[in-house]
């Protein structure tokens, strides 16, 4: 029942990949992925595509998308995404973003409020909250990180991360094709979020510029972003509410695709 197809798009920084499909809905739904490079959160997007037009651009540095050398910070990232919307000829979109993607969604909605109709931010980074730091994602042992990202220890990605951490492999013997995408994804995320660590100090003061009603989702088991960040988003965005998601940690769109799909559809159609 795959309705999504792979495509490419020429942008100002180079060619980027995207996944698109479906039809319907008042405006296209754009999915912005996290720094883990999950790319397309497949099951969720397939569900959404049954009801609306869905586009998931792959950010430069992730997958085969080009142009990371022209992007140094979240401002460059925002202008790149604006360029993507322009080239897709989307005058207005609904944004759905996970983690880093949620941050990007908030940047777009504050910088160009008329381009964003509704927004769903899932475990979004982007803000600093005193005393509630975003946990380290760089350089952590994979088995430890797996527990922060996935509520379900049996989740296939979590299992793979633990297996890699425990395998005691000679790094020279791991097929490099397995490592390359991970290295690239982390490097791209570092460019945007090393310091200031995964946030834009200016963003909180701009949240009042949101015109889009927003749902801010917090995975109850998220080990990376404390709930206080969801609360800060809700406090700053004029029309926003928080939704706590059971059975999900940080990678909530992968762990709970159906639940996220139905709350997204309710928000976008409501």
């Amino acid at each position: 029942m795959t309705v999504l197809v792979d495509a490419t798009l020429e942008t100002a920084v180079g060619e980027v990949e995207l996944r698109r499909g479906g039809s319907g809905g008042p405006v296209p739904v754009v999915y912005l992925h996290s720094g883990q490079g999950e790319g397309a959160a497949m099951a969720l997007l397939e569900e959404l595509a049954e009801r609306c037009q869905v586009v998931a651009p792959v950010f430069p540095g992730f997958g085969a998308s080009q142009g990371l050398e022209f992007i140094d910070d979240i401002e460059d990232a925002s202008f790149h995404l604006l360029d993507v919307l322009d080239r897709l000829e989307f005058a207005q979109v609904d944004l759905l973003g996970l983690s880093l993607g949620g941050w990007m969604a908030a940047e777009l909605a504050t910088r160009w409020p008329d381009r964003v109709r509704r927004a769903v931010l899932v475990n979004a980074v982007g803000l600093h909250v005193d005393g509630e730091p975003i946990k380290e994602i760089f350089g952590r042992p994979l088995d430890e990180l797996a527990g922060d990202l996935y509520a379900d220890p049996e989740h296939p990605v979590a299992q793979m991360m633990r297996a890699m951490a425990q395998a005691d492999l000679n790094p020279g013997e791991i097929p490099f094709d397995l490592i390359r995408p991970v290295i690239q994804a982390l490097a791209a995320t570092a460019k945007l979020g090393w310091n200031p660590y995964l946030h834009n100090p200016k963003l909180r003061g701009r949240l009042g510029r949101f015109r889009a009603p927003a749902v801010v989702v917090h995975g109850r088991h998220d080990g990376i972003v404390p709930r206080a960040h969801a609360e800060a988003y809700v406090a700053g965005i004029p029309d926003a509410r928080i939704v706590d998601l059971d059975g999900a940690a940080h990678m909530a769109t992968l762990e709970r695709p159906s639940e996220v799909a139905s709350l997204v559809l309710r928000h976008l159609q409501g």
Binding site: F138, G139, P171, I174, N195
Partner: protein
């Protein structure tokens, strides 16, 4: 300075001898088994012991001049127990004043950690002036852990280094004031006082662990490349072979003085005595001080370099399990004078290096053993190696004053 190397090769290879000090912290408590880097709690640092070993380590560097080494080396690391020289320039300035003859190699200043990097041009020029033109100016990207310790974006490490390097060379060689408007540094008045004694600038060394970008950078500028230790000897062999290739790609053959090999060395009267006096201190270094050094933050090296460097990663000293592996991989050269002469000769020939950088103090190795090690090396080993390899001059790049 491009095109100025071409030191005429007189009679075969020659070798310069340096005594390199890491200034390790010897007092980590036995029950601490965490990393020695980034998050190693600074409560574990005892300032009284710290002051004692600083002075002792400086004495050990001064002693190297006394017994006839060609130079001494210090380096820069931050927030760690492995090497307590966050500012190698402070130590180098003491050495500049207290020594008379040796070259003083700061290997190096981590350029991206200095903002603006003209600070490096200033401090290096000070050391060069105080020492009468004996500085070797090392420039380094900085270790992976430093990008955590300084919260500096590792994905911009290489471009910051390149811009800082160009700026420093310009500050030394171009009349000021001038303006520098780059991506990372914007300086309206660059006008570095003092200027270095050595003209056009001091000899430049770049330490590295084999990233292709660094090798190509060193080759392009005709600088010297110092291979960082703690790998199997075959990794050095590959690294220096890549360096020679990089020089050939620039249209010239690498001068041995452009290659340096850094290795722990311990000499005693017999092989058995050497091992028994040394081994525990070596393992303190490997098991207590190395953990954490190998963290490679995202974007710090390009994907193609990561791929290349992973080939040697399995042989990193942290993976050592037995003394036999240490000996087989030549991670440290330990033994009687005969053994050390034999192994160093073989490796210098195998690697084709013109600079031997010995670590004569390592881990918890006490003062008496370090002193004796330096004495035996200088009297029993160095003369025989000099006889074999000849006495090295200074590469033309150094452009020392007459």
């Amino acid at each position: 300075m491009s095109g100025t190397v071409g030191r005429p090769m007189t009679k075969g290879p020659s070798v310069r001898f340096f005594s390199f000090h890491l200034m390790p912290y010897p007092g980590l408590p036995p029950d601490y088994d965490g990393p020695a880097w980034i998050t190693c709690p600074n409560e574990l640092y005892d300032p009284a012991l710290g002051g004692e070993v600083y002075n002792r380590y400086i004495d050990e560097l001064l002693y190297a001049e006394e017994v006839g080494f060609d130079g001494v080396c210090v380096n820069e690391h931050h927030q760690n127990a492995y090497g307590i020289m966050p500012s190698p320039n402070l130590i180098a300035s003491i050495l500049a004043r207290q020594t008379k003859r040796v070259r003083i190699a700061v290997v190096g200043n981590a350029l991206p950690l200095y903002d603006p990097p003209t600070r490096v041009a200033e401090e290096f020029a000070m050391i060069d002036c105080i020492s009468g033109g004996r500085l070797i100016a090392g420039m380094v990207v900085g270790g992976g852990p430093e990008y955590y310790s300084f919260s500096l974006n590792p994905a911009q490490a290489r471009e910051r280094f390149a811009e800082a390097h160009d700026l420093i060379i310009r500050a030394w060689t171009e009349p000021g004031p001038f303006e520098h408007i780059g991506k990372h540094y914007k300086l309206r008045y660059v006008n570095t006082w003092p200027r270095p004694v050595q003209q056009p600038h001091p000899e430049i060394w770049i330490p590295g662990v084999g990233s292709l970008e660094t090798l190509e950078f060193v080759a392009k500028h005709h600088y010297a490349y110092m291979g960082i230790p703690y790998f199997h000897i075959s990794v050095f062999e590959r690294m220096f072979s890549l360096m020679r290739d990089a020089c050939r790609a620039e249209g010239y053959e690498a001068d041995p003085l452009q290659l340096g090999w850094l290795v722990p060395i311990f000499v005693a009267d017999t092989d058995a005595e050497a091992r028994s006096r040394y081994e525990d201190h070596f393992w303190y270094f490997v098991k207590r001080l190395l953990p954490g050094i190998n963290i490679s933050p995202p974007g710090y090296t390009t994907v193609r370099s990561v791929e290349n460097m992973l080939k040697g990663a399995g042989t990193f000293a942290l993976n050592l399990k037995s003394w036999q592996e240490v000996v087989d991989g030549q991670y440290a050269i330990v033994g009687s004078p005969d053994t050390v002469v034999e192994q160093l000769t073989a490796n210098i020939e195998r690697l084709g290096v013109g600079n031997l950088l010995g670590l004569f103090q390592l881990g918890t190795l006490p003062a008496e053993d370090t002193h004796r090690n330096l004495t035996l090396f200088a009297t029993e080993v160095m003369p025989r190696l000099r006889q074999r390899f000849g006495v090295a001059g200074t590469p033309a790049t150094a452009a020392v004053r007459p």
